[in-house]
Subunit: 391 residues, 2 copies
């Protein structure tokens, strides 16, 4: 039986429930005799390399429950794609501290990091087990039915569109809302849950899985304004033109080589200008970029998401101790109605590096809306939404 | 005793509780024998001029309660500053339909409209009573201690900053959040409620009541980054330079002559560029513009705000019937701890046209933060906030 300390870290963009996974893992680890110490790495890999750890055996359950209910990574996060030298440093620190278990909460980049370190340990004949704990509001991890963190962000987006659609109905005009999701439209598509009655927005939904054609967009908006006297548009921050270029960007890149799309109003303003160009002068056109509120807003949490995020943390630890098998935790949907799920382990290589995107059957033929199949998939994850009253 | 139909309308930017006021007025009116019919004007003055009314005597209480809990104006709203011709048209419609009571839910512009129509009725010796029902997320109405709609928006802003500050702490860098409030900083200042522990953001708060100096801003941010390794900034959309010019705007104006500040990311992007200029290359700088979510997000409602919004609607109707005196409903704060309030009527002229802004004692000497006096004022309105857990 493998016995030793564990390190746990959080990576990438925070979510509303990433601390549920952390707390699930900590509480499970405290029950395991094989785990002789619980080290929280501050700011993920960065903290490991700098040996900047928090002892996670000391906190009361009450304190941990407060942390679990708090959005954004409590240990601190990092956006760092490690090279060989960094991975070697990490591995060296693990050996030095007698770390035998490593749990990394993050997306496909984090799974890749865990994978590299696991391979290193194997080569060095160092007994070691690493399990990746899935997390991303983008919902773009392979294998798993969906990713913890997504459903709470989707709930925020659905609620935001419900209210904003009422706002737009009250004052008319065109409203464009830019939603997070670099390469996958899952979160943008969740806006469709805001529709409760005929004529409710969003009236158009654009995801990065389809080429964004500027002229078609102008035509679509004009048609919706003709029909409803107004138009609410959901658009992913990641939409690209036929050449694969973003419609608007600041040009700044992070260390993964990803272009900065969030934290700027550039895309919304560009789309506003396009709509103004296509509609009669004086038409009220506004754009909001939902930004970081989508992933960190307190109290807007899906119950299913909170539970599953807790469960995958716990599952990762129990799996590592009982089987000493590397992998990534994945969610299997057992039933949509009533909703139920279970957990399993998939090899790190099946999750690492590459991401996934929306299935074709979730997007309509015109590429400007979602389908019933999508709603059937997403609704149980997000949970019941308040009914919008109307006169 | 004045007897006849009433018209009620909603005007200006929606709020999360504007429909509480509508439903408060409807339910009170149904109890008043003096009110022989309840006409809801669609899109405020516009609906009156076009005789586009909804009969509000028919809906079940259950339906009305759903409406009350729904953000954004259920009757539809309008941004229209009526000229003499429009007011005459409104008055003509009122006479035609035997309307003796007019309730207008809105800000200072709506109070002004009510005032003009009341003056017309007096000149024409038409027995008539109009009561303005206060509403604005900006909290800039004179006389009243605070405006219905403000506290719910303030709650949204406080929660948003609580989560976003955790997000920024997890990933570091500078985060700028642009908050609504054209000429008054109340809503931006509510961000200070997000602070629960030493070092929590927002670390800087800029309101339109103080001149925004670009160089001072750059110096302030650099100092905070030096102290905390990061910086979260709350800034009002309405900040102006020493000449009174907005720091960034699209140049578009509404019919009140107000510049468009919301529904664009221009200010946030401008401020981001200024921070990048002042800090070492590669510093992570992001900006979000909270936009319309602040005023229309379902489920984020202050309990005090919901109750008071309901009460002022009811108070307006009961006052109009019992005293036949024109005016605007205002809130008197009886006590802050425990919080309690009462209602009174103030002449329309004391609320109409001009708005108010934050008291000097609410803003610190440097003009980059708020004071304890401000927190004492705003905290009871917003209500208890969740505790952010930390390790």
């Amino acid at each position: 039986m493998l016995k030793g300390k564990m390190v746990i870290g959080q990576s990438g963009g925070p979510t509303a429930v990433i601390n549920q996974s952390l707390v699930g893992a900590i509480l499970a680890a405290r029950e395991q005799a094989a785990i002789t110490g619980i080290l929280g790495a501050k700011h993920g890999l960065k903290g490991i390399m700098e040996e900047d750890f928090i002892d996670l055996t000391m906190q009361s359950v009450a304190q941990l429950e407060e942390v679990a209910a708090t959005p954004a990574a409590a240990l601190g996060s990092v956006r760092l794609k490690p090279g060989k030298a960094e991975c070697e440093k990490v591995f060296e620190v693990f050996k030095k501290h007698g770390v035998r278990f490593f749990f990394y909460i993050g997306g496909n980049d984090s799974a890749e990091t865990a994978h590299i370190i696991a391979e290193m340990a194997k080569e060095a004949n160092y007994d070691f087990c690493t399990v990746h704990i899935p997390k991303t509001i983008d919902n773009d991890l392979r294998v798993t039915d969906h990713s913890p963190g997504f459903a709470s962000a989707a709930r925020f987006v659905a609620l935001a569109f419900m209210g904003d659609d009422r706002d737009n109905k009250a004052l008319s005009g065109v409203k464009i809302n830019v939603v997070m999701g670099r390469d996958a439209g899952f979160l943008t598509a969740a806006s469709a849950l805001a529709r409760q009655a005929e004529g409710d927005g969003p009236h158009l939904i654009y995801v990065p899985e389809r080429t964004f054609d500027v002229v078609q967009f102008q035509t679509d908006v004009a048609a919706q304004v003709g029909q409803h006297g107004r138009c609410v548009v959901a658009v992913s921050e990641g939409i690209v033109d036929v050449k694969g270029n973003p419609i608007a960007t600041t040009g700044e890149k992070d260390s993964h080589g990803n272009l900065q799309l969030s934290g700027t109003g550039a895309l919304g303003d560009t789309l506003s200008a396009l709509v103004k160009e296509a509609l009669p002068k004086g038409t009220r056109v506004r754009a909001d970029t939902f930004g970081y509120l989508q992933r960190s807003f307190p109290t807007i949490v899906s119950d299913v998401d909170a539970k599953e995020a807790r469960d995958v943390g716990e599952f990762a630890v129990n799996h590592a101790v009982s089987s000493v098998e590397n992998g990534s935790v994945a969610i299997k949907r057992e039933s949509s109605n009533p909703y139920s799920s279970s957990y399993f382990i998939t090899p790190l290589s099946t999750v690492a590096r590459e991401a996934t995107s929306m299935k074709d059957e979730y997007i309509n033929d015109k590429g400007n809306d979602v389908t019933q199949a999508w709603l059937d998939y997403v609704a149980p994850l997000v949970g019941e939404l308040p009914k919008m009253g109307r006169l």
